[in-house]
């Protein structure tokens, strides 16, 4: 039976990008379907009736939701490049940092860049503190996964291109080279990895899009 694999995604979504990177690392062929989030397709509504979000991976007619769940499924289903660590303790640590990025860091970055002016200073302070934790976790490693990219690097994709676009679009500086030398270097190395480079959206278009999505309307 021929395998059917399609990914419902959105060009500007870092969550969709994670799945594209993972599939590239595993050298798996798939059909990509671009969703218009302002006009969702019947297919998306059928496969994800719960929150109607992308990415959705459909494998032999079976839908998978939530980027972290999808990444683990991809790692378990296709051999080759290891995305998750093999050791159970290392795996628990990787899951912890992936969750930290999604549950704590990203919302804090969003608040810092696009939140109310009033709370801006405090939000920037909070996001900076959280980024510091990640800077410390990286230590002297090239990637969070060690010599090659792994789960945490893929989940941290938002901190490479998207954070740069956030900063350019909002005018708020968070991850400066002075304050975050390790993360800044990581961001560059990560974006240069072939599996990542060919799946990143174009920066200028992304900045314009994010600004229109999150920014305040002109007075």
């Amino acid at each position: 039976m021929a395998e059917e694999l399609s990914l419902l995604g959105m060009w500007a979504s870092p969550f969709s990008c994670r799945v594209k990177i993972a599939l590239k690392l595993k050298v798996v062929q798939y059909k990509y379907v671009e969703e218009d989030l302002f006009n969702k397709s019947p297919l998306l509504l059928k496969y994800n009736p719960i929150d109607k979000k992308v990415p959705v991976l459909v494998h032999n007619g079976n839908p998978l939701l939530e980027s972290l769940v999808i990444l683990e499924y991809i790692d378990e289903t296709w051999q080759g490049y290891p995305i998750f660590p093999k050791d159970p303790y290392e795996r628990a640590v990787a899951r912890f940092w992936a969750k930290f990025i999604d549950d704590k860091l990203l919302p804090a970055i969003r608040r810092a860049c696009w939140g109310e002016e009033k709370g801006r200073e405090k939000a920037v302070e909070e996001a900076t503190e959280l980024l510091q934790l990640l800077e410390m976790e990286l230590k002297e490693k090239r990637f969070f996964g060690g010599e090659t990219i792994g789960l945490v690097d893929i989940v941290a994709d938002t901190l490479s291109l998207w954070l740069t676009s956030f900063e350019e679009g909002s005018g708020v500086e968070l991850m400066t080279r002075e304050k975050f030398p390790k993360l800044s270097k990581w961001s560059h190395e990560f974006a240069s990895t072939s599996a990542v480079k060919e799946n990143l959206p174009p920066k200028d278009e992304l900045t314009v899009f994010l600004k229109s999505l999150f920014g305040k309307p002109a007075k």
């Binding site: 719960i50 494998h59 769940v69 683990e72 378990e76 303790y89 795996r91 628990a92 899951r95 934790l133």
Partner: protein
């Protein structure tokens, strides 16, 4: 092996169930969350400073669902908590994550007031409607066997009475299947001995509401 825990925490209870299912011996240490957190907790979970924390061979594992998966992977020779098929595993992870995102962080039903509480109550009912639908006629969320999703949700069962009291609804009337499922889970020794007495939970909620100035 040490588990840093708190008697009424639904998250701590998840880990207790997993350890009991695997028949693992461990030392339980009660944290004084309303008073002072121990140095050990602050050292082992510096980022969130929260329980549960499992300390295995001196190394900490944090976040209840991550701990449950860790336990399942290390003690993989008995009582599997996750299915073996990758697609079923993904489904289990999705629904456990759903419980974490939708049920767990919104005790506004208990700790809120006025409009805020009303909104929290409605969200609670919406969420459980989805869960009732997902459970359907299956004995457990995973199908025939008790597993990861059941563990993620059943610990809230000892809080159901508190939700009913302050949310002013009946779990049995609104969610008959979940009510039956909770009773079925309680027949398992691992669940029965890990969950708190609902009456004690009610007393805790009343006390805590007083602390928050809601009584």
């Amino acid at each position: 092996m040490i588990l840093l825990d708190y008697w009424v925490s639904v998250f701590g209870m998840r880990v207790r169930i997993a350890l009991a299912e695997k028949e693992i011996k461990y030392e339980s240490r009660e944290e004084d969350l309303l008073g002072n957190k121990s140095d050990l907790l602050l050292k082992m979970n510096p980022i969130y400073k929260k329980i549960p924390v499992l300390i295995h061979n001196g190394k900490p594992v944090c976040e209840s669902l991550i701990i449950v998966q860790y336990i399942d992977e290390i003690w993989n020779d008995r009582s599997p908590l996750l299915p073996s098929d990758p697609y079923q595993r993904a489904q289990a992870r999705f629904w456990a994550d759903f419980v974490d995102k939708k049920v767990a962080p919104r005790p506004g039903v208990l700790w809120g007031k006025g409009e805020e509480q009303e909104a929290a109550r409605n969200e609670f009912l919406e969420t459980f409607k989805i869960l009732e639908g997902e459970l359907g006629d299956k004995p457990y969320f995973g199908g025939e066997t008790f597993g990861f999703v059941d563990i993620s949700l059943v610990t809230f069962a000892c809080w159901f009475h508190a939700f009913e009291t302050f949310g002013k609804f009946s779990m049995k009337a609104e969610f008959p299947k979940i009510t039956e499922w909770a009773k079925r889970c309680m027949q398992r020794e691992s669940v029965a001995k890990s969950l708190q007495d609902p009456q004690k939970v009610d007393e805790f909620v009343v006390e805590y509401r007083k602390r928050l100035g809601l009584e």
